[in-house]
């Protein structure tokens, strides 16, 4: 290697190596270490080995939050698929110009502040909000519906905020399906349902799973949405971790929950790669 080349290698690689080790690896190793420590009653950390933080996760109160939070995230993911998949299939038959315009139109709300958009839902959903006012004045209901400050509010907020993360990978995988493949199947007498099952689903499964990952994972952590639309009572895993770090000040337990989440995430990513997904597609927005 020439001298100049070695210098160039040093310049390009050293910042990234320093960054990954100091801002990704080190913090994660530290919370892994913390998750095996004890906690004193004043919020301090006692450096003494224990497994109690991991055992505490299986306490019924916390298990309830885990189950409820996963269920909310799962429903939000499912709603996003139900919106994105037909949307992509319909656009697939249209001109490329329209496809580009539609993807842009989907991106615009996504570029405005997510808190502000969540706030917009308060105006719509609360007891004396727009949706209830319209329903009452039109005579459809007598008493206002509880559309927020409950799990329904969280589900609406999550599906709305995370929808672009599903639409984009689903659209890109659906638009990529080779038309000749479908035409060949049709010429050979395949019924629409058979084409859908044998061609469209296999060709788009990794795109759908990509979107599901990018919806499901944030949906268990976005505590601000459950704070705003779920009211004080509703808790998701994100709220639980936040409380352990800022209110209860039990950092070891908060760290154990975080490590648990990382393991779940890695498992989901592993399935995604088994389905033929590429890691580089996950960040491509």
């Amino acid at each position: 290697m020439k001298k100049g080349d070695r210098f160039f290698k040093f310049i390009t690689l050293s910042p990234i190596v320093i960054y990954t080790s100091l801002l990704i690896l080190l913090p994660l190793i530290y919370i892994f270490f913390l998750s095996f420590c004890k906690n004193d009653s004043y919020g301090g950390i006692i450096y003494d080995f224990t497994l109690s933080n991991y055992i505490a996760i299986f306490d019924i109160t916390y298990l309830n939050i885990f189950v409820k939070s996963s269920l909310i995230a799962f429903i939000a993911t499912f709603i996003c698929i139900c919106i994105s998949y037909p949307f992509a299939l319909i656009l697939r038959e249209r001109s490329e110009n329209l496809q580009n315009l539609m993807t842009k139109l989907i991106m615009i709300p996504f570029l405005t502040n997510s808190l502000i958009r969540t706030y917009g839902w308060i105006v719509l959903l609360r007891k004396n909000g727009i949706v209830n006012s319209i329903l009452i004045t039109s005579g459809l209901i007598e008493n206002p519906l509880s559309l927020m400050y409950n799990n329904l509010g969280i589900i609406i907020g999550m599906s709305y905020t995370l929808l672009p993360f599903m639409v984009l990978p689903v659209c890109s995988s659906v638009f990529k399906i080779d038309n000749t493949l479908i035409e060949a199947a049709r010429d050979l007498g395949a019924k629409p349902w058979a084409i859908f099952k044998k061609i469209i689903i296999p060709e788009t499964i990794s795109g759908v799973f990509n979107g599901s990952l990018m919806v499901f994972i944030p949906a268990i952590g976005y505590f601000f949405i459950s704070d705003i639309l779920g009211g004080g009572k509703a808790m998701i895993i994100g709220n639980l971790i936040k409380n352990q770090f800022l209110t209860a000040r039990n950092w070891p337990f908060g760290s154990a929950i975080s490590i648990f989440l990382i393991i779940i995430t890695f498992f989901l990513v592993w399935i995604y790669r088994k389905l033929g997904g590429k890691l580089d597609d996950l960040g491509g927005m």
């Binding site: 502040n113 808190l115 971790i241």
Partner: protein, 261 residues
């Protein structure tokens, strides 16, 4: 197609769902009523209020400083890193490659608390510095992925050709590699900038007293009580986004027209 009408309705409904909360905010930012239920009359009062709200303006300036700084730094580190990782082999390369995806896939809150823990351990005071550092931390991977998508195999051939013709590494980088990567660098930078402007979760854990960002300020405003100031602010931010998007679209279309001439 027999179902064409139904299909159009579906597309329309999806767009309606996406734009509904935004339209509501814009309309009510001009409403004289404080309660946001009925539209009583037209007013600019909330906009005037907004400009007298010092906290809010300070938070806005902080947000811009953080977004600009973290975008510049993460774009430089990310671009260099993408080139280096693409070009050279070294001992822990595959490990580093995996670590880069971690901020993209793990829940943001986990990155937030782990950064908070490490700042506390190393006794770095929470404030603007930790905010910028954290925003750099979550932006770099997105820049790398974006830049990497433009590093094709043809680029390698060009680079080798440049080397054969006697160009050194630096020259090859600035004359051959960088121009080819530019679209990836720009979209990576835009992504980093928007992620930074919008970040709630990581900022929530890594900000200190006196270093409020706009999303954090809005968050506390929403929690303490709803004021139409927020509507006015949202409308202005929406307007800014629209202006940026249209300008970039115009520039792009001009480039395409210029290219075909």
């Amino acid at each position: 197609m027999k179902h064409k009408k139904l299909k159009n309705i579906f597309i329309g409904l999806v767009l309606f769902f996406l734009y509904l909360p935004i339209i509501v905010l814009v309309v009510y930012s001009f409403n004289t009523s404080k309660m946001n239920i009925v539209f009583e009359g037209f007013t600019f009062d909330w906009y005037k209020n907004l400009f007298n709200n010092r906290d809010l303006i300070e938070a806005f300036i902080n947000t811009l400083i953080i977004a600009v700084t973290s975008t510049v730094v993460s774009t430089i580190i990310g671009t260099l890193g993408a080139v280096g990782l693409n070009k050279y082999d070294f001992k822990f390369k595959s490990f580093i490659n995996l670590l880069i995806y971690i901020p993209i896939v793990i829940p943001e809150i986990v990155l937030g608390i782990s950064l908070l823990s490490i700042y506390t351990l190393t006794k770095i005071e929470l404030g603007m510095f930790t905010l910028i550092l954290s925003h750099i931390a979550f932006s770099i991977p997105f820049v790398i992925v974006s830049v990497r998508s433009t590093l094709s195999s043809t680029l390698k051939t060009y680079e080798e050709a440049a080397k054969d013709l006697g160009a050194n590494s630096m020259n090859t980088f600035f004359k051959v590699t960088l121009p080819q990567m530019m679209p990836g660098v720009i979209s990576g930078a835009i992504l980093a900038f928007t992620l930074s402007l919008d970040d709630v979760v990581i900022s929530y854990f890594t900000s200190g007293p006196g270093s409020n960002t706009l999303p954090l300020k809005i968050y506390s405003m929403i929690k303490t009580g709803i004021s139409p100031d927020v509507n006015a602010l949202s409308t202005l931010m929406l307007l800014a986004t629209m202006i940026i998007l249209t300008t970039s679209a115009i520039i792009q279309s001009r480039k395409i027209v210029g290219g075909t001439k």
